[in-house]
Symmetry: none
Subunit: 188 residues, 4 copies
DNA sequence: AATGAATGAGGATTCATTCAT
DNA sequence: AATGAATGAATCCTCATTCAT
């Protein structure tokens, strides 16, 4: 019953931050949506910015886990790993529809603390590692891991945001197609 | 020295909106950055939201023009047109480094007026048209124009944002490489 | 000690609006005078204009009640009723010295909402009714009720304002005298 | 051509102050209505408050003159003098429909300077004098001049304001009737 | 003399945060 | 522990006033 209240706040905040953006979300909005008194939020989080950081860290951890898990036990085939990562993206997306949107806001940079930045960094390093592996095997093109990640993640994000806004119609096949596009973009 | 004051405000606002986002930018910030009294902003723009819309329309117009011009006189080869469009993206980006960032903020949706939406719509329709052409010629893959644009624009944006933040090192060759990746992503 | 804060605001606002007028009263003035934070006002009232309307409705209700009560159980003699109404005026005036001043500001028209206008209308209709009765009995002169009310209320208001400003010295007899003057003005 | 601009400003200000009240009138409003640049107003008047005082003094002077003139050459009959004064009121009202409204705003007190107060005082003293005369002749009742003036002026003002707002329909006969009511109110 | 663009002090209002209950 | 009323700093915006032209 205790962790519940904290979770309710995190859940409510995630939805609001993703749909309305951090600055356009007021603390009373979060409180109301979480069915909690406004003051209660300050029992669990230092302040609004602290809440943002806890949420960011939570999301990026979950995200990492989904991606990591989706890779576990996979054969050494890079293309197959890529498929699993891409699937992980969508798995996470289905579990927490707002997670990716939230994580991909640029202007969070203004508010993220050192720890959050660190975790974000680590996650990307994990991906860079995968890319390096692919490059060494000669199946991924010779661009810096940062560029390759940007191409794949940028595409994915944009497609997803448009699915969310209704501009793009979602289907299982679409995901497969987008994955292929992305792979074609970065394969050697 | 005449239209200067209005321009100074627009310039200052563009930088702040792109770097900090609309909600995190205060009117006094814009005023200070534009070296103008806070009240002066209201002589030229209805209010902060009005300023956003004027700025959005200005940027999207400039952007359209650069893209359109970069296509003028080009042969009927789709791959070549694609090259020119991609180049246009980077040309605009160099002219107005904050323009693309500003234009691509999702949360603008909350504040854009009908006219801005309209112009945004028209610009995308122009691109859709190009994609349809490529699909009919059989050189672009059979995905909806929205998806294809998302893949290319998403990649470009993400790479650009990382160049901006310093995570990715810029070079002429990089642009060529990214263009090739994007083309590989969407070609049939 | 419960509804007190809201009441303190209303009381402070009434005094300031009556003495200085709506436009010349600032929200911080009201807050200070009510010994309340400026933000607190907005917990109880939609905005400054909303506060004006709540106050107006409260005063006109109190005023109506005093007048209505002062008539209750009175014999059917018009002159006697007039006496009671006039007394009601002064009773209300003594209870809420600023009420009449506040209610009689012309420029409220700019800010009153539909409900306030309605209530004002109803109150005057009650008075018109009384006048009509007197006219039918042949004891009040043949002018429109609006004119008769204006003569009596105008006289009363002006005398009262001058008592307030110190130009006229108040006494029990004065009220009786003014009442007689007003009656002489409108009797047949 | 010179005095014209000043007059245009005074004329415009009178209308706006009377219709909207001092605080709700902005200097640019006056400038626009007077077809003058906003800065020009400060060539002729010290500031907005100074303009109010000049205007007040102008109106009260004109008002005094109309009343005084209407008495000139009149026989020594008090009732007749009263008739002339009352007529003067309406004459002034027709010449400068906004003058009376403007002069009768209570909250001017906040802004009037010593001279304006003085002139206001003097004008009322003139009227008091007339009342004293009537009392000595035994035709006006034994109330203080301030009270008697309040009764007459209060009635007149209220009727006039209601004519202006459309609640009361104007006619020549109405004026005569109201005059009679007022006289009945104060006669011995 | 006349203008009106420019200013910034000051007003209304919002909202993160505190704290008494 | 939980609340939400209360606060006042900070925001957007207005407008009296100045001053370069």
């Amino acid at each position: 019953m205790e962790a519940t209240k904290r979770d309710a706040i995190l859940e409510a905040a995630l939805k609001l931050f993703a749909n309305r953006n951090f600055d356009a979300t007021t603390v009373p909005m979060i409180a109301e949506s979480a069915k909690v008194g406004a003051g209660t939020i300050y029992r669990y989080f230092e302040n609004k910015e602290g809440l943002l950081n806890v949420l960011f860290q939570k999301c990026i951890t979950e995200f990492s886990e989904v991606i990591t898990q989706s890779l576990s036990g996979s054969e050494n085939n890079i293309r197959n790993k890529f498929h699993r990562i891409f699937n992980g993206l969508f798995t996470y997306t289905e579990e927490r529809p707002e997670g990716v949107v939230f994580l991909s806001y640029q202007n969070h940079d203004l508010y993220l603390d050192e720890e959050s930045r660190q975790m974000s960094q680590e996650f990307f390093e994990f991906l860079y590692h995968f890319i390096e592996e692919g490059k060494q095997e000669g199946v991924i093109c010779e661009l810096s891991p940062e560029v390759i990640i940007s191409i794949v993640f940028g595409s994915f994000k944009e497609v997803y945001l448009n699915i969310r806004s209704g501009s793009i119609h979602y289907s299982k096949e679409l995901i497969v197609d987008v994955e292929n596009c992305c792979w074609n973009a970065i394969k050697r």
